[in-house]
């Protein structure tokens, strides 16, 4: 063969191979499955490229060995023996021709198999004269999914060209496998989809753009029935029984989710109530819809998914029903109404269920009718008033034992022995009763369920019972508490009416107020006058109004309690004395909610007090006047001294003038002295006047040492005339007291006069009075007046303070009684004691004003 010929031959060969490749590619593409594609490949390669035998090897399932595939091709029948040997052979990776190709993932060429050291089938090959062999891997991705091998009888050197062609053909097989896999995948996906649609709990309906149903899954058929003969969308609501949530208005067809999704809308969570032949009790569905679109976005139809939400809705309605009952309780609806609503709510939750609520009587021994709207009146009447006990039907026993009592058959249960006939008449067979307990665990009543079948409660019925007893417990307990509250109010009101006590509540935020009837009487308000805080305040006497308001505001801000004694001024000028006492109620944040309190009318008591005080003042005044009488010597002396000086000075001036010998500087001096003495006389008179005045002035801060010094001077003349001596021993650090000057003077004068009287029988040298002050830790200022007289009655020294008790012949017996009332009105005490040797000592203690000490030299 020359070069030209060789080139021509090569060219021709290439052309043939290309043509082969095209042919096989088309044939493989047309093949239905892998086997037929493989068969095409094996046959065509043998026919067109001069091989006599072609067969395939496939990895075992566990991937450890290659097995001979079922598809093969051979040019003539003599090769069957080799085929048989191949079928019996299994190659591990690297072993033999298939194993080598499998392991290396590369084609392999053997020029003479009879001389190849790694060819276990040598004997069989030699027997039928097979020489050249080629192995080609078929790869899917990186994985060898098969190895194909071809044999020929001639010994032929490796042709790379030929290997390439066969490999290219083999690669076509991979396409088939991929396509096949995709088809299988699709098929499987379809199956899954079908399975989902068939088994899903939601209904799925597909319709085309004209509203023609394309698909109803089984659930859709269960919900709505079969699509049946085609209907137009505007008949759907009627045909399938579709309603708005009000359960009565047919669903507008143009608003149906499927209609809308066919129009191209996306529809979410539309609730539809369905009542049809299929669903006679009705069911609730929540629907989502989506339009179906073609590849170019054109509308093809719509699909809806409907979920059964009946249970959710019923639970919702049940909860709403519970809320309604709780609202009734909160609004203080009558208990029978509340319990009846509760029973009806429970009965609505299960078919054929009847319920009743019985109350435990206050005596704790009998039942009272509560609510049983669907039980026969005969039964209700028979049970009302029945006793509770260990064998008293379901309810009486449940209340008695405080435990649920389940009677599955009233016809046989011993608990029902007394009620069996009644139950029979009323058609009751099972009765399960649960006690209703208060928060503290007290039995309030019972809740019972009745069935016409003999059976025990289902879990759902047990759940309903728990809810019912809980709500009933709240309702009954609240009613009990309100009863107790009403009774308490009535009792308090009764007490208040008989005690001149006003009850009131102020709501400062709203400026409104409430007041009991008695209160309105005390404050002078008409029964039906709407009250405000301001109105109540306006009744307070104008002189005290600001102070009362300030005290109230301060108390509310600080302690939360309030007390005030003040006057009220009523219409027509009437005045009342009241004591007002209140407490401020605040919320968690400390805001004032209301002030609740009482007002006590103390006018009568006050009147008596005022009268008593008046009498006391009168008495004290008489006492002072009488003291004045005893002090005439002192007063006369006190007045006569300045008058004498004035008269003398005036006479002196006249005489100087008459004699014409006056010193020019002397006359003004005389006149000046007269003025000073006139003033001094005036002071004496003022002092006397203040002592005999009826009203005594208000409290001031007093230094008792000064008061004692002044008083002793005032009586000095009388003391002298009685040939007695008063000495004082005054504590310089004596604290001040808050007191009325005249009253303290009155106390001292009484004590001094008494002391003088007590010493009348003594020789003048022994008539001594010692007035001493001292301070007890700065808390108390103490005055003691000691004499050396006859002393106090030994058996009862305190008797001297009693009214009309006197040891003196001329005494009224009022002095010391008045002294004591004055001291006590100042918050102090007075005691009398007999001194160790002789005479009496009166000790007055007055509360000191803290931090008020004044140093005064002792007189």
């Amino acid at each position: 063969m020359n070069d030209h010929t060789l080139a021509e031959q090569n060219h021709k060969q290439s052309k043939e191979q290309l043509s082969l490749l095209l042919t096989i590619t088309m044939e493989v593409a047309a093949a239905n499955d892998f086997s037929s594609a493989l068969e095409v490949v094996l046959r065509r390669v043998c026919e067109k490229t001069g091989w006599v035998l072609g067969q395939a090897w496939v990895p075992s399932r566990d991937g450890t060995v290659l097995n001979c595939g079922s598809v093969w091709f051979c040019g003539n029948g003599e090769l069957r023996d080799f085929r048989a040997v191949s079928e019996a052979t299994h190659f591990k990776p690297g072993l033999g021709l298939p194993g080598r190709v499998w392991e290396s993932k590369q084609p392999a060429w053997i020029e003479d198999v009879s001389r190849d050291p790694n060819f276990p089938r040598t004997a069989a090959a030699r027997a039928i004269g097979l020489k050249t062999a080629v192995g080609i891997p078929i790869l899917s991705g990186d994985k060898v999914i098969a190895v194909i091998e071809f044999f020929m009888r001639e010994s032929r050197s490796k042709s790379e060209q030929l290997v390439k062609v066969i490999a290219a053909i083999a690669a076509q097989l991979n396409l088939v496998i991929e396509r096949k896999r995709a088809e299988e995948e699709l098929c499987r996906t379809n199956e899954i989809l079908q399975s989902i649609l068939s088994n899903m709990g939601d209904a799925v309906i597909v319709a085309d753009k004209n509203g023609k149903f394309l698909f109803f899954n089984p659930v859709a058929e269960r919900f709505f029935g079969t699509p049946g003969t085609q209907t137009s969308p505007n008949e759907w609501s009627h045909r399938f029984g579709l309603y708005l949530p009000d359960k009565v208005t047919p669903f507008p067809h143009d608003q149906l989710p499927l209609t809308r999704s066919i129009r191209g809308e996306e529809v979410d969570n539309v609730e539809i109530f369905v009542r049809s032949k299929k669903a006679t009790k009705g069911l609730w569905v929540r629907v989502n819809g989506r339009p179906l679109k073609g590849p170019k976005g054109e509308l093809l139809g719509g699909v809806i998914v409907c979920r059964d939400i009946t249970e959710i809705k019923e639970e919702e309605f049940f909860r709403a029903g519970q809320s309604d009952v709780l609202e009734m309780i909160a609004a203080d609806a009558p208990l029978p109404d509340v319990l009846t609503s509760l029973v009806l709510l429970m009965e609505g939750q299960a078919e054929g269920l009847r319920c009743s609520i019985l109350l435990l009587n206050r005596d704790g021994k009998h039942v009272r009718h509560g609510a049983a709207p669907n039980l026969p009146q005969t039964y209700v009447k028979a049970v009302d008033g029945a006793p509770i006990g260990p064998r008293n039907g379901s309810c009486g026993t449940a209340m008695y034992t405080r435990r649920p009592v389940v009677v599955t058959d009233v016809m046989t249960d011993p608990l029902w022995a007394d009620y069996r006939e009644l139950a029979k008449i009323c058609g009751l067979r099972a009765c399960w009763s649960t006690p209703i307990l208060s928060a503290q665990g007290d039995v309030l009543g019972s809740f019972a369920m009745y069935r016409e079948q003999n059976r025990g409660p289902l879990p759902e019925e047990t759940r309903l019972t728990q809810i019912a007893t809980h709500i009933a417990g709240i309702a009954i307990e609240r009613q009990r508490q309100q009863e107790i509250l009403r009774e308490r109010e009535a009792r308090i009101s009764l007490a208040a009416e008989s005690a001149d006590l006003a009850f009131w509540i102020l709501y400062p935020e709203q400026n409104t107020a409430w007041m009991s009837e008695k209160g309105r009487l005390i404050y002078g308000f008409d029964s039906n006058l709407p009250l405000t805080c301001d109105l109540i305040l306006s009744r307070v006497h104008p002189d005290e109004r600001a102070a009362v308001k300030a005290a109230y505001d301060r108390s509310c801000a600080l302690s939360g309690t309030f007390e005030s004694e003040h006057r009220l001024r009523l219409p027509y000028g009437k005045t009342r004395w009241v004591i007002m006492r209140g407490r401020c109620l605040k919320d968690e944040e400390g805001n004032l909610l209301e002030t609740i309190g009482v007002t006590l009318d103390v006018s009568a008591q006050k009147q008596a007090d005022l009268q008593l005080q008046h009498q006391r003042e009168e008495m004290a005044h008489r006492n002072r006047v009488s003291l004045m009488g005893e002090m005439t010597a002192s007063f006369a002396h006190e007045l006569n001294q300045p008058l004498t000086a004035i008269a003398n000075n005036a006479s002196a001036a006249r005489r100087f003038l008459q004699h014409g010998n006056i010193d020019p500087a002397l006359l003004p001096q005389l006149l000046q002295d007269m003025v000073a003495d006139s003033q001094r006389a005036g002071e004496v008179i003022r002092g006397i006047r203040s002592l005999v005045r009826k009203e005594t002035s208000a409290h001031t801060l007093l230094n008792l040492n000064e008061v004692i010094t002044d008083t002793v001077r005032l009586v000095s003349t009388d003391v002298l005339s009685r040939e007695s001596v008063v000495t004082t021993e005054l504590e310089p650090q004596l604290p001040q007291v808050s007191a009325t000057l005249v009253q303290i003077q009155q106390v001292l004068l009484n004590l001094i006069m008494n002391a003088l009287d007590a010493m009348e029988g003594l020789p003048p040298a022994e008539r001594r009075i010692i007035i001493r002050t001292r301070s007890d830790k700065g808390d108390v200022a103490e005055i003691s007046v000691r004499d050396f007289g006859t002393g106090l009655p030994k058996d009862q020294p305190d008797k001297v303070f009693d009214h009309f008790f006197s040891t003196k012949q001329k005494g009224m017996g009022m002095g010391l009684a008045i002294v004591r009332s004055i001291i006590e009105a100042h918050g102090g005490t007075i005691v009398g004691e007999n001194a160790a040797d002789r005479g009496a000592r009166m000790i007055v203690r007055l509360p000191a004003v803290r931090g008020q000490t004044q140093t005064v030299a002792a007189a």
Partner: protein, 130 residues
């Protein structure tokens, strides 16, 4: 005041514990030209009387510390010739009787008539033994 040693014979002593009364009597007597010696305390006067001749004394009989009657009694012992004029702010018959028994030449209730008082002092002074 006058020199006690030279003017002692016609000097009038006045005893009163009330300063303004004492001062006014001093002026009253001075207006008629008497020489006057005043004492705020009875003790001071008695001390004076023990060392000096006192022809006339005007004294209150109610004073702190010592009663006028006491003064009278002690003066009587000390200087029996001294003529005593008593002035008092209080009408006390018992005291008056006691005083008169001791021996005053005149007795005046405060306030008193100036003419009679000065007349009494003048009279007492003129009768006093020189």
């Amino acid at each position: 005041m006058s020199d006690p040693n030279q003017a002692g014979d016609n000097e009038v002593c006045v005893v009163d514990d009330d300063p303004s009364v004492l001062k006014s009597i001093h002026y009253l007597l001075a207006s008629d030209g008497f020489k006057v010696r005043t004492f705020n305390k009875a003790e001071d006067f008695l001390t004076h009387a023990s060392a000096h001749h006192v022809p006339v004394v005007v004294t209150d009989i109610w004073m702190d510390q010592v009663t006028g009657l006491e003064v009278l009694a002690r003066l009587c012992a000390l200087s029996p010739k001294t003529r005593v004029i008593v002035i008092t702010a209080r009408e006390d018959l018992a005291a008056r009787a006691t005083a008169m028994a001791i021996g005053p030449v005149a007795f005046f209730m405060k306030p008193f008539d100036d003419e009679k008082f000065i007349g009494a002092v003048r009279d007492a002074l003129s009768r006093s033994e020189k």
